[in-house]
């Protein structure tokens, strides 16, 4: 068992963002987290990543309770994340941007740089590594977000809408990169995604959230036929 979320609750001034959410992610799995806006997807991510402490419930990662840890401690425990609203270190070059994270595991500047470059190459940013991060286009910034998260060498990667704003071919490229990381390195991935094309292609399992509750869980094929999911999220006529 890689990640286990048990009866998680979180309210913001009386607004219940997440209520009694429970699900598990097995090691080596790719799980999609879907649901309408405001369903609590990003709130769950933020609780796993240590940005908020849950009001109640437990988050267990590799047999260790991680709720209430600081974000840097969660990261050191092996969970990498990206942000929905990209947060590049705008003033720095792309490679410098990716290097910081590599320092978490690497002591030495030149090896950190070499490893960062290999990750950037993997994501197709190799040629742009000396440009300032602020000059990147949105899809490239999304890739940089993923590269940065990968540079911390996580065992679990939390991706918050990295496909949004990408064109279908770019989206397919990203899917390919992620699938390869999952296959080659055994990286466990949880992704929040509205782009159903990507979710269907990537996820082996999908968790559907609505009003902070888990309303369905299953393979992509099962989930798209679930009446509750159709009603609240996909709409009845959706063709995937």
């Amino acid at each position: 068992m890689s990640l286990e979320i048990r009866r998680l609750d979180k309210s913001f001034r009386g607004l219940k963002a997440v209520s009694h959410a429970s699900f598990t992610v097995t090691e080596g799995d790719i799980v999609g987290l879907i649901g309408p806006n405001g369903a609590g997807k990003t709130t769950i991510f933020n609780m796993v990543a240590g940005v908020y402490a849950p009001d109640s419930g437990e988050i267990i990662f590799n047999q260790r309770k991680i709720q209430g840890l600081r974000p840097d401690q969660v990261c050191a425990a092996g969970i990498g994340r990206t942000f929905q609203i990209v947060k590049p270190f705008t003033g720095l070059s792309v490679v410098a941007d990716a290097m910081k994270e590599e320092f978490l595991r690497e002591k030495n500047t030149s090896s950190a740089r070499a490893l960062s470059i290999s990750i950037l190459d993997k994501l197709g940013l190799g040629a742009k590594r000396d440009l300032p991060a602020s000059s990147l286009t949105l899809p490239d910034r999304k890739r940089l977000e993923v590269a940065r998260a990968l540079a911390t060498r996580p065992r679990l990667l939390l991706l918050d809408e990295v496909m949004a704003g990408l064109r279908p071919t770019e989206c397919d490229q990203m899917v390919e990169v992620l699938r390869e990381l999952n296959r080659a390195d055994g990286l466990t991935i949880v992704l929040i995604e509205h782009v159903m094309r990507a979710v269907m292609a990537l996820a082996r399992d999908i968790v559907v959230l609505h009003h902070g509750e888990v309303i369905a869980r299953g393979t992509p094929a099962e989930v798209v036929r679930d009446p509750a999911v159709l009603e609240c999220y996909l709409g009845e006529e959706t063709e995937i």
Partner: protein
Amino acid sequence: MRRNLALGILLAVLIALPAFCGNYALSVATLILYFAYTGQAWNVMMGFAGQLSLGHALYVGVGGYAAGALFFHWGIGPWAGLWVAMLLCVALGVVIGFLAFRFGISGVYFALLTIAFAEFTRIGFDHFDWLGGPGGMFLKVAQRDSWDLANFRGPPLMYYYAMLALTAGAFVLCFFLLKSRPGYYWQAIRENEEAAQALGINTFRWKMLAVALSAAMTSIAGVFFAFYYNNLFPEQVFSIGRSIEIILGPVIGGVGTLFGPILGAVALTVLSDGITEALAALGWEIPGIKQVFYGVVLLAVIMFLPNGIWPALARKLRL
């Protein structure tokens, strides 16, 4: 390569400088180096780690008073006093940093906290009779013709070389810091603290380190100040004007750059003295006219070179 060569030439010129200029020019050069050094120290905190301090005179003052008092009361020389000064300033920096970073005070509120500490230290020292109170503390004036390295008393030449060594040391230190883990971590915190934390950086610890290092570096300038000027008045050393003086160099030269503080210190001192000379040559004796010119030039730099002189110059020179 070109950059190393230029740096080597600059250092050689600075070492040889006293042979070519008189005492007045040497004192101006010492002042420039003093501001280059304190600017570099401030830059560690603001330029690298993004924590704005508007009260750096606090560390100059406490450092100066600590070493000065040890010398004044017990004859303990500055080489020992230096460590006491650094320790005290690091402790102060850690207290300020802890209060701010633990309780989430950031941005302008952090800057206000640094001003508050400098101000209430100033008021406290005004009532601290052991250190001379508002009347100031005076160290025995140095014999200007003999070198007494143990007590750091000697001719202007000695102070010039001491300041040159400090400035060069701070430059090298910052160069290596920027190229290694602390530099990368600080810049990540400066650019986006939330993202830095999500990527595994203990932001609290690294911000504290930046403050402690900056405080320690600045305190050495304080010790220099005490033994160079031989007098310390709370109203002067802790005043907010002093803090602003420290900041102006790196702001004009380029915040967060290695050369910015040095270039800024040169530009400001030359400008200030140049205006005085020019006004004297023109024979204008209007009170306050110097400050008006100074302010206008500062405004112009900020309007046309908002990132400071160095980034623009570096682009021109293709460094």
